[in-house]
């Protein structure tokens, strides 16, 4: 405050230099010849702008944990020679990433899901590639990624985020809302402008398209008639998907909960103990709003009808 007063005018400065501002008691840092000169020098220094007024916060993805399955998506942890830099090959493998590590990606990721040794990331983009997967792929839980060495086989481990292709009619008009992963299978929920949310499933296990479909490397769409779509109800759409370890749950916009998969100790809640090979309604005295799936049990949050 004293410096500003000096710049304004000597007369003002004399007025302010009262008892508390005696020149003998206080010196400016940097040992400038006088306070006025110091202030002038400072005014000439350019101001650096690091962030503007309307800066937008950028999206980031951080990963950590066990990296040898490839689920972290950083190839240099597993195969150091693939990393950048001249001495990358000499660095040791990193088995565990104990603190968050930033994953460099171009797209803005809107949904992420972790399975057993694999990860799925999805973005609400209108591009053709909307879902990336990395990690274990022995059961085709990441789809099919053709190996460069042997064109007939796929990679068993995918070490960096690789596109998973979905068989969409109109990819430019469809957006992926959610991804969810189980032990060896994956689910994806899409939303087409026009209102046809579809569910795609792939991987290994009871996938939900009958007892014959046990493994699929190509994402398969679950027919919407199984979620209650009829002539009477043409506007049924799945609004949320969740995966348990070996079972799946889907909530529709009409407030119905569908489950399918392995019925481990009754985790499906359908009144029977047998496995369910296609989506089946769970009825309860209330309208389900959200659902959580575990290994052998499930919990639903609901509202009463009236």
């Amino acid at each position: 405050m004293a410096l500003v007063a000096l710049v304004a005018g000597a007369r003002l400065g004399r007025r302010l230099s009262g008892p508390g501002l005696g020149r003998g008691h206080w010196t400016a840092a940097g040992r400038s010849r006088s306070r006025r000169e110091a202030a002038e020098a400072e005014a000439e220094v350019p101001v650096v702008q690091y962030v503007g007024e309307r800066a937008a916060r950028a999206d980031r993805v951080f990963v950590w944990g066990f990296s040898f399955s490839g689920a972290l998506g950083v190839p240099s942890f597993v195969v150091p020679s693939s990393g950048p830099g001249p001495r990358a090959g000499a660095r040791p493998r990193r088995r565990i990433q104990p603190v968050p590590y930033r994953l460099e990606l171009d797209q803005k990721i809107s949904s992420a899901a972790c399975g057993y040794g694999f990860t799925l990331l999805s973005s609400k983009t209108a591009d053709v590639t909307k879902v990336w997967g990395m990690g274990l792929n022995k059961d085709s839980q990441l789809g099919f990624h053709r190996s460069r060495k042997d064109k007939t086989r796929g990679y068993e481990y995918v070490l960096e985020p690789s596109p998973v292709s979905l068989p969409l009619d109109r990819p430019q008009e469809t957006r992926v809302l959610q991804v969810s992963c189980g032990r060896a299978h994956s689910l994806v929920l899409t939303d087409r402008e026009g209102g046809e949310g579809h569910v795609f499933v792939w991987g290994y296990g009871i996938l939900g398209k009958g007892p014959n479909l046990v493994e699929s490397a190509v994402p398969e769409m679950i027919p919407p008639t199984l979620f209650g779509l009829t002539e009477f109800n043409p506007e049924i759409q799945v609004s949320r998907i969740r995966c348990g370890l070996s079972h799946f749950a889907a909530l529709t916009n009409k407030g119905e909960l569908f489950v399918w998969g392995k019925n481990i100790r009754g985790c499906l809640g359908i009144g029977r103990l047998e496995d369910q090979y296609f989506p089946w309604r769970v009825t309860m005295p209330g309208e389900p709003v959200d659902v959580a799936c575990g290994v052998d049990h499930m919990v639903t949050l609901a509202k009463s009808f009236i």
Binding site: K209, G210, P211, N212, P223, T225, L226, G228, T230, E231, F232, N233, K254, G255, E256, E274, D275, Q276, Y277, F278, W280, R281, T283, E287, F305, I306
Partner: protein, 262 residues
């Protein structure tokens, strides 16, 4: 007339029965119009086949909120009156969605399919699962066409129904809405593939019209029966006769019932 005319009289046709008229009276009237011609012969067997096909029927059901009666009719003995100002179209739609969901589940349960088979899955995808034997009333579709409290109009597509069960449905909808309701009208708009448009009016109950109607319906009857009774679906033997229609039955009946002068 002669035998040529008689031979064209084998088949099914639909007739419009106004509310309040007993169906036996209607049947007698149609017979008289045909000058006591023997009934439509082979058509009676087709009737049984149609029953075995377990096709769905469409109804429009009119309900009235605010009171409950013992037989679920408007003129029954009053049991309770309740408020209904909290009922909105959205709540009604939600209740109907739940009813439809639980009935769709029951459709599959009563059809006795082994759900672990691939064919059960394929039928579920096509929406074809239907019980082919006795079961309680099952609703394959229900929606609200009109809602102006206290009145509302539902369209119900169901099978193995009785009129009382349809009225009870209105009563139960009232209970789910935390109020009460009675049924004021039940009107069948479709039976299998016979719709209101193909039903003959009172003025049309004469031989020519009946012959034309039978002829028009025959190909549809054959196609539908073949589709429904084809092997691979669970067909049962002839059931005991007897729809239990109450006196104020739904307003259209199938042609000449079994026993009509055979």
């Amino acid at each position: 007339m002669g035998s040529a005319g008689l031979s064209r009289l084998h088949g099914l046709f639909a007739v419009y029965k106004p509310p309040g008229l007993k169906w036996k009276h209607l049947r007698d009237t149609v017979e008289l119009q045909l000058l006591k011609v023997l009934g439509v012969g082979h058509g009676c067997r087709l009737l049984t086949d149609m029953y075995n096909a377990h096709l769905t029927k469409d109804y429009t059901v009119r309900g009235l909120l605010g009171k409950a009666t013992d037989d679920f009719r408007e003129d029954g003995r009053l049991v309770e009156k309740t408020t209904y100002d909290h009922v909105t179209r959205e709540k009604l739609d939600r209740i109907l969605a739940v009813i439809q969901g639980s009935h769709q589940k029951a459709l599959v349960m009563y059809s006795n399919l082994d759900l672990k088979t691939q064919e059960a899955y394929e039928m579920a995808v096509r929406g074809l699962i239907r019980p082919m034997n006795k079961s309680p009333m099952l609703i394959t579709g229900i929606r609200c066409l009109y809602f102006a409290p206290p009145e509302f109009l539902l369209e119900v597509q169901c099978m193995h129904e009785t009129q009382k069960e349809l009225r009870k449905l209105v009563h139960e909808i009232g209970l789910e809405l935390k109020t009460t309701a009675v049924c004021t009208q039940v009107r069948r708009t479709r039976d299998g593939f016979f719709t209101l448009d193909s039903a003959l009016l009172r003025t049309q109950w004469d031989l020519t019209n009946i012959q034309d109607a039978i002829r028009a319906a025959t190909p549809q009857v054959a196609a539908e029966l073949e589709k429904s009774l084809s092997p691979g679906l669970d067909t049962k033997q002839l059931p005991s006769p007897g729809w239990s229609w109450d006196s104020q039955g739904p307003s259209s009946t199938l042609g000449l019932e079994r026993g009509a002068g055979q």
